[in-house]
Amino acid sequence: MENNSSRRKFLLNTAGAGALATLGPVRSWAATVGSSGELGFAELPDGTLAEQMLYALPGKVPLIKKTFRPPNFETPVQYFRTPITPNKAFFVRWHLAGIPQVDAKKWRLSVGGDSAEREVILTLDQLRKNFNPVEITAVCQCSGNRRGLFEPHVAGVEWGAGAMGNARWRGARLKDILAKAGVKAGAVEVIFDGADTPPLEKTPDFVKSLPVAVAQDENVLVAYEMNGAPLPHFNGYPVRLIVPGWTGTYWVKQLVSVKVSSQPEKNFWMSTAYRLPRGKFNTPTFESQLYSANEPISAQVVNSLMTSLRTGQRIPRGKPIDVKGVAWDRGTGIAKVEVSVDSGARWEEAKLGKDLGRFSFREFSFSAPTKEPGSLVVMARATAKSGETQVEKLIFNPAGYHHNVIQRIYVEVV
């Protein structure tokens, strides 16, 4: 009752009350697994909340199970309290259920295609020894991270905020590998296939492509290590593609084939899936894929996640509100993160943590004193060095991509 009356008082007294009205019922007592409402977002569909649970895949800690087959598992928020996401807690996302256990000794990478001078076949040993090893810290984020927060809901894997992770990737530069095969003039795209297969023959295999210029970017890696260890099976062992700044759909797991092509790749996963209405987002354009009304998703939008607070949390008066979290963008780097504890009326700059590179999570922290009892809405807003900032209102798109709406966590000073 105390809760209700103080909240009502807050609603009556504050200009920013409109923000609270969108929060819906506060369920601070509910230990719902993976609730996005608890993180200060719109809530997941009720069926998602009812079905999901914590479950440990082999070699993994318990993650938020979305679907068993193919396995889609989300990282719980506590693993984002460090800037590097542990391998055992890294999210899992597969499109097709045929996921082989790859024997690294038998694994081969075939590099060729109609716009390659020659075909090159590499063993894992050759990949490690014949190419200069490069290490880069980069965020891998599913295009549909936070899809479950869309209003209205859209069909798909109903992700909360944990379909992402940040790791130190080590591998060979794709451009060095492509140079061995020789890229002909007139090459348009580079096409990637993994060892995973559809359960039915007629289902389109998961094949992705990149513009040839992106594939030749010095930051794009063919990675065999993640945080100093082999990649976990569920994250693409033994080798996956790393495309810093671009969404996870391009980070092909269990990579076995690279083809340099004079033509755009038009399979379902390029021509129909992972597409956005044109011009809705200020992200790079994938020119060779503009043969229909929409365009492929490309690089990620600027975003942040507060990890230290839960909606409905009670904070004793006199103790500070400690706001901590991570911010990231497509690789221009984070310029600033601002925090508001009054529903967005006033913003103050948070302290940024150590710079681990422009593609990495950047930690931020902010401490606000508490004086009066009452309810507060805590918000964080990241701005990239490009000038891009998080949005107040969802930019709706039918497949549920690029959710970077500002988080609003309701806390109660008691």
Partner: protein, 97 residues
């Protein structure tokens, strides 16, 4: 392939894997539930609960048709209506009040 062959195929795919857990996923009882076994040729049926309850009958029809037309789900035409009715009745968007 018959429905029984499919169920057997799906069961085979599960044997000995961590995905055996998906046997614990329980679908609501109701007419048409048996037909949903077709879905299990490719994926666990927690996809259904996860995508509830916000799709209306047209939404579920769209999803089932995508499975057939894009992913080549071998669902006989005559079973589509029963599946869509089952899904929208049990996992559909609640009627506006």
């Amino acid at each position: 392939m018959s429905l029984r062959t499919f169920a057997a195929l799906a069961a085979l795919a599960l044997a000995g894997s961590a995905a055996a857990q998906e046997n614990k996923v329980v679908l609501k009882d109701g007419p048409g539930r048996d037909k949903v076994q077709y879905c299990m040729a490719c994926h666990s049926v927690d996809y259904i609960q996860m995508n509830s309850r916000f799709l209306d009958k047209a939404g579920w029809t769209g999803s089932v048709n995508k499975m057939i037309n894009v992913f080549a789900a071998p669902i006989p035409k005559e079973d589509v209506d029963a599946i869509v009715t089952y899904l929208s009745t049990n996992y559909g968007k609640p009627a506006e009040k």
